[in-house]
Amino acid sequence: MTREEIIEQVKEVLAEEFEVEQDVMTDDATIKDTLELDSLSLVDLVAVVEHTFKVKIPAADLPNVKTFAQLYDYIESHLH
């Protein structure tokens, strides 16, 4: 899966799950603010990524996944 495909798929599933427009998910935007995540719905981000890419983001890694670009990096580096 190419990075472009990852980006396209992430935007698609997150827009569906969190009911936001895809164009607000710019590379440098903060995921938490853009998707209006609280401590509970942060779990949904983890679940959606796991369902879509079979990539688990352990709680210990979440602090390093703040922006969309960092999310793409994380998925790209952990895809099997």
């Binding site: 969190f18 009911e19 209006e36 609280d38 509970l40 719905s41 942060l42 779990v43 949904d44 983890v46 679940a47 959606v48 796991e50 369902h51 688990k56």
Partner: protein, 408 residues
């Protein structure tokens, strides 16, 4: 204290309609809400019959981060509660300024639980089920969601009493207000409508198999009944003290005057006569009325052989020579289970306020056991100002409400 307890608002989300006027007309016209669901057949159901209830679209009403906590039964209950609050003239501003409680009957969260556990098994990771699952898969999901959405600060409790859950919620609301512990309670019942919630019920061969005639399958008290049809949705009633209602300028619709309950102390699924009979007797004693004052009985009768027969005998034993008109609205709705005790109060009040008794759909002729009561087969114009509503459930839990018209 001994407050008078009134109902000032009602709401309904059922297979007969999604507003009170539509449901009133459906009752009057003998509409059936029962359909054949191929998905259930494909799953291996013995009977694929069910009521059909639309899922509401709440996207514009509730933000995603709150909506994700709501399984379908909570969504239905949200819709019925909005209607009831509106009819009662209770705004969000009022709820923010007063202590209002919530009591709802609910006794399953099967689909939400199934979905959550399936995700955990599939991904071997508990986070895979998402953050909404825990709140969706608790039996109190309806009350926890509505209390949060409407900012309720009074009693916050779910009653789980099998198919009498909604009626027990109404009864408890009545007692708390009568005793002065609460001024106003949002009371009701909710029932999920999906295969996961009733597959095991189908497994004990409790459902009608009249799949070639879905609208004729639910036939309470009829000689040829062959089982119940599962249904669901939600119903809400705003219950408050008469003093509280009048003080805020509300117009009461009806008054709850008695509640009776009992346990059979017997078989887990097969009902008896003595248990239900004691529930009726306690309700009459609680209300302080004579049987002749009851103008209509909304029976529990679900279209099962044993249940309908034994309820008929219990009614006959209590009412004696007085052949009170009896129907079961389940001929139209199927068995709304956890919701039924509340929805059937809504249906009965709609009849009482509009001067008719909806015919017991599909009742054609009684059998030996059900011949002892006066089942009204066809809708008739009828004036009554007091009714009795029965709800009975697995484990031998019984609840009976007596409600009269309010003519301030």
């Amino acid at each position: 204290m001994n407050n008078r307890v009134v109902i000032t608002g009602m709401g309904i989300w059922s297979c007969l309609g999604y507003d009170l006027d539509t449901v009133r007309d459906a009752l009057y016209n003998g509409k059936s809400g029962i359909v054949f669901d191929q998905a259930r057949k494909d799953m291996g159901f013995r009977s694929a019959l069910t009521s059909y209830v639309e899922k509401p679209d709440l996207k514009k009403l509730i933000p995603r981060n709150q909506r994700q906590f709501m399984p379908e039964e909570a969504q239905y209950a949200y819709c019925s509660t909005r209607q009831a609050l509106e009819q009662a003239g209770i705004t969000q501003e009022f709820l923010d300024q007063h202590e209002v409680g919530i009591l709802f009957g609910n006794d399953s969260v099967a689909q939400a639980t199934y979905k959550a556990v399936s995700k955990i098994y599939e991904y071997k990771d508990t986070a895979a089920c998402g953050s909404g699952s825990i709140f969706q898969s608790m039996n109190s999901t309806v009350t926890m969601n509505l209390a949060t959405l409407f900012h309720l600060r009074g009693i916050n409790l779910t009653t789980s009493g099998a198919c009498a859950s909604g009626s027990h919620a109404m009864g408890l609301a009545y007692l708390l207000i009568k005793d002065g512990l609460q001024d106003c309670i949002i009371a009701g019942g909710a029932q999920e409508v999906n295969p996961e919630s009733v597959g095991s019920f189908d497994g004990i061969q409790a459902f009608s198999t009249r799949e070639d005639e879905p609208t004729k399958a639910s036939r309470p008290f009829d000689k040829n009944r062959d089982g119940l049809v599962p249904g669901g949705g939600a119903a809400t009633l705003i219950v408050e003290s008469l003093e509280h209602a009048l003080a805020r300028g509300a117009q009461p619709l009806a008054e709850i005057i008695g509640w009776g309950f009992s346990g059979n102390g017997d078989h887990i699924s097969t009902p008896n006569v003595a248990g239900p009979q004691r529930s009726l007797e306690l309700a009459l004693k609680s209300a302080g009325v004579d049987v002749h004052e009851i103008g209509y009985v909304n029976a529990h009768a679900t279209s099962t052989h044993a249940g309908d027969g034994r309820e008929a005998m219990a009614i006959a034993n209590v009412f004696g020579d007085y052949k009170v008109p009896v129907t079961s609205t389940k001929g139209q709705t199927g068995h709304e289970m956890w919701m039924a005790g509340a929805s059937e109060v809504v249906y009965s009040i709609l009849m009482m306020k509009n001067n008719f008794i909806a015919g017991s759909l599909n009742f054609e002729e009684p059998d030996e056991e059900t011949a002892c009561i006066n089942v009204i087969a066809k809708t008739q114009e009828a004036h009554f100002d007091m009714f009795l509503s029965n709800s009975f459930g697995f484990g031998g839990t019984n609840s009976t409400l007596i409600i009269k018209d309010y003519k301030g």
